[in-house]
Symmetry: C2
Subunit: 225 residues, 2 copies
């Protein structure tokens, strides 16, 4: 039996559900490839259409504009990651062990998950590192937030914040620490690869070192005296 993981997406993000048609799945698949290759600024619906072998208008029937497509992809990623986390931390009682596992999942390069053949999770992970924050660093952040575009990200942070509180009920900043871990797992990765002097990992460029840093950061804060 082949399980197919379906992530329920916010319907305001698309005009036509891309997961319900071949063209839609192709849009997702090729947009991940093209954004990864060209970067979000140089990415256009025209190039995407050429890649797929359809027309620009064809893409516009699915997504209003490239911003919504980016938000869609990041949402998909955060939803997928929350599932990964709940799956891999299932049955772990000790919140400390759990939190360590979460940090590892956040900061480790993702392998392509064969379960969803139309999205390459490894490429998407790299896109979220380089382009993910552009989904909310806009003037429309308020409106987008009103439409719940960032719910998957918030949900993930809320879960992590919960584990943090379990580790230390008296810790005062569980939510901020959660978003700090998530953001820093990505930013330190980006810096390590592109601006290494901003990190202590420039020599080896190992995810493992980012994990150590984050563990140190988090568990120093949560240590009870």
């Amino acid at each position: 039996m082949k399980l197919q993981l379906q992530i329920k997406m916010n319907e305001a993000l698309f005009l036509r559900d891309p997961e319900n048609s071949e063209l839609g799945k192709n849009i997702l698949k090729h947009s991940v490839q093209l954004i990864h290759k060209a970067g979000f600024e140089a990415f256009t619906f025209k190039k995407l259409a050429e890649d797929i072998g359809t027309t620009e208008a064809g893409i516009y029937r699915y997504f209003e504009n490239k911003h919504k497509l980016l938000v869609y992809l990041t949402c998909w990623y955060w939803g997928w990651l929350e599932f990964q986390i709940s799956f891999h931390t299932n049955n772990i009682k000790d919140p400390t062990v759990k939190l360590k596992r979460v940090i590892k999942l956040l900061a480790t390069a993702v392998e392509d998950d064969e379960q969803t053949n139309y999205i390459n999770e490894s490429l998407l992970h790299q896109i979220v590192i380089s382009e993910g924050s552009k989904a909310y660093l806009t003037k429309q952040v308020g409106e987008d937030n009103n439409q719940h575009f960032f719910k998957p990200y918030k949900d993930l942070c809320a879960v992590i914040g919960g584990v943090i509180s379990e580790c230390n009920h008296k810790y005062k900043y569980p939510k901020s620490l959660a978003s700090t871990i998530v953001e820093m797992a990505h930013i330190q990765n980006f810096f390590m690869n592109h601006l290494p002097s901003l990190t202590d990992f420039g020599k080896n460029k190992e995810d493992r070192e980012i994990i150590s840093f984050l563990n140190d950061l988090v568990f120093s804060s949560l240590k009870k005296e």
Copy 2:
């Protein structure tokens, strides 16, 4: 006597030095206002030219494109901030006191500094929060970095990393902790104002709380056992 603070800028960032002419200073002044108002995506040289009362071609004589202008402004900001830090921590011996002061300067809303009349530091600070990371989150990071476009940012982080090491010589991640503080001072501010559920500061929206969080984070990590 009126002191004029001049920040030495990387000459590869501009075609003609904007600080050497009225038009150039107007470009800086109005671009800060316009980017703040419209956001970087909607900001164009045409609108900027209209704002100033010059032509598009006039702007292009100073800056190759809006990306370089953004990099210019962020560099200016980091240079200015490094000066603020060196000024306000001058003569402080105790590295712990120094680091606290640095965190405060990073996370506190900036007042417009009358010394430079053509750049509104308060607006620029907000631009750096919302748009600053777009200066390096691009496909051209590598080339831009080769041209030393991020030197002011790196210099600032190096200074902070130095203070961190002074606090605890055995701490293993001074550079990453430094970039974490700088990034988080901004990101937590953005989240507090636009996606408050990602922080613990949503109720009061006070810079003071971000400072407390960062102090807790940093000094837990640097505590020697």
